[in-house]
């Protein structure tokens, strides 16, 4: 399992460089559309490691085609310049009746399946690249339908899943989606996320995907129990942290992940080659 870190802001540039230099991570994941005004060659050269791409605001379920075509052209430039190891996006609702959510909405996996499938097909065709779609940290009981939705979606569109393990833990705590229900999705996935979450301010508590805390015991247990389903040649796992960015805390979590999955085979190979 190759380990990575998400790069969303310029302010963590030096820290990510240090994580790479000290061997805590093997690749870096750009929140790529934050950097659409940066020269793609600068993106390619900024870090001395492979690059994964994560799209946040394509809004491909809601945006019109000309907007998506323009977005895709810039995404394409980044894919080509960085020779990205994967491209990922989100299946999310950004608005309701034209009004923006600030805490994004989960789609209706049963009622909107055909609509989402057709949009996914169209979005992959516009980008001209396979896209891995991330699972949502479900709160409401619609999250029970998520595993079957992603299984069917990948079969019918050729898309992949960027499986966020801690989002699945949030869904398990919030609406009871069993880990076992994700087995086929995890087995087919090559790209993963993991992060900390925290409880809501008010009760009854719900787990919120905040990227501000250390990995929970539940997340680590889930990874341990499904270790051999997650780990496979070419697999990547991005540790996401956007708030409370403390170098030592991040390194401690990355070491837990290294211990759990073992030193990455690809990494060792690279080291042998460069030695």
């Amino acid at each position: 399992m190759r380990l990575g870190f998400n790069f969303t802001l310029g302010s963590t540039y030096d820290m990510v460089k240090r994580l790479i230099a000290e061997g805590h991570i093997d690749y870096c994941e750009y929140l790529v559309d934050n950097f659409f005004c940066v020269d793609p060659d600068e993106l390619a050269k900024a870090f001395d490691c492979p690059i994964g791409l994560h799209v946040m605001y394509s809004r491909f379920l809601e945006a019109d085609r000309p907007t998506l075509v323009d977005f895709a052209a810039r995404l394409r430039d980044c894919i080509d310049a960085t020779n990205a190891i994967y491209v990922s996006d989100h299946i999310l609702r950004f608005t309701h009746e034209g009004r923006a959510f600030f805490h994004l909405g989960e789609v209706d996996y049963s009622g909107e399946y055909e609509f989402v499938r057709d949009k996914v097909l169209e979005w992959q065709e516009i980008v001209g690249h396979r896209i891995h779609f991330e699972n949502y940290p479900s709160i409401m009981d619609g999250g029970l339908d998520a595993p079957a939705f992603f299984e069917r979606l990948t079969k019918e569109t050729g898309a992949g899943v960027l499986f966020d393990a801690s989002n699945a833990v949030c869904a398990n705590l919030n609406c009871g989606t069993p880990f076992e229900a994700w087995r086929n999705v995890i087995a087919a996935a090559h790209h993963f996320h993991v992060a900390g979450y925290r409880n809501s301010i008010v009760e009854p508590f719900i787990a919120l995907d905040t990227h501000a805390n250390s990995l929970s015991p539940e997340t680590l247990a889930f990874l341990r129990d499904f270790r051999s389903v997650f780990d496979k040649p070419g697999a990547t796992m991005t540790y996401e942290r956007d708030q409370e960015i403390e170098f030592e805390d991040i390194v401690a979590d990355l070491k837990l992940l290294r211990n759990l999955f073992g030193e990455s085979q690809e990494r060792r190979h690279d080291l042998v080659v460069s030695a």
């Binding site: 790069f7 310029g10 659409f36 323009d70 034209g98 009004r99 789609v107 709160i139 301010i201 008010v202």
Partner: protein, 193 residues
């Protein structure tokens, strides 16, 4: 009135309530749906007061005397809540009982304009590099720049021009900049809903 029969199985059932303090109050507080809606409303609250904490001097520490009536006003007008969010808060304050306090000190306006420019720079995915936001209540204007290098984030600048631009025809106006230079003034565009 609390209604226990409101549909609340899936997230989509709650969409209309996610930006409505009034609808939130109709959900039983001991249920997950209420917490989901409350969490969403807190994000709107924090997006306003974490970025413009000066406004808490006007409203009192919980911010609710601004937040609740503003959200209801915005709902009536079906405001889109894109990067104009902060500008609409100012527009509401300007016609509210807080008007005098608001206009007594330019720091509120500067904070609002800066927040709006920063939000545009974070969220806009069009080709423009920068945005200038002006207001009829001041000759100063604010520019937000998108991230231009992996080493830096977005940037917000306050411009105090020696020769002021003509004021925008409405309370706020903006124009976008195709390069990382402030070298054009194509005229003000109005804020839309």
């Amino acid at each position: 009135m609390i209604l226990s029969s409101l549909p609340s199985r899936i997230d989509r059932d709650l969409y209309p309530a996610l930006m409505s303090p009034e609808m939130c109050a109709k959900y039983p507080a001991d249920q997950k749906a209420f917490v989901r809606i409350d969490t969403s409303l807190r994000v709107y609250w924090h997006t306003l007061f974490d970025i413009c904490p000066e406004l808490l001097e006007i409203s009192g520490p919980d911010g609710l005397s601004i937040f609740r009536p503003f959200m209801a006003w915005a709902e009536e007008r079906k405001l889109a809540f894109d990067w104009f969010y902060y500008l609409w808060v100012y527009a509401w304050l300007r016609q509210s009982p807080f008007k005098e306090q608001l206009l007594a000190d330019q720091k509120y306006l500067r904070s609002i304009m800066g927040a709006s420019a920063a939000r545009w720079a974070i969220l806009d995915r069009g080709r423009a590099r920068g945005i200038a936001i002006g207001c009829a209540d001041t000759t100063d204007f604010v520019i937000g720049w998108k991230c231009r290098s992996v080493r830096f984030g977005r940037q917000v600048e306050l411009i105090e021009p020696e020769e002021p631009l003509p004021p925008p025809p409405e309370v706020f106006g903006y124009f976008t900049l195709p390069s990382f230079e402030l070298d054009i003034f194509p005229g003000w565009q109005g804020v839309t809903r």
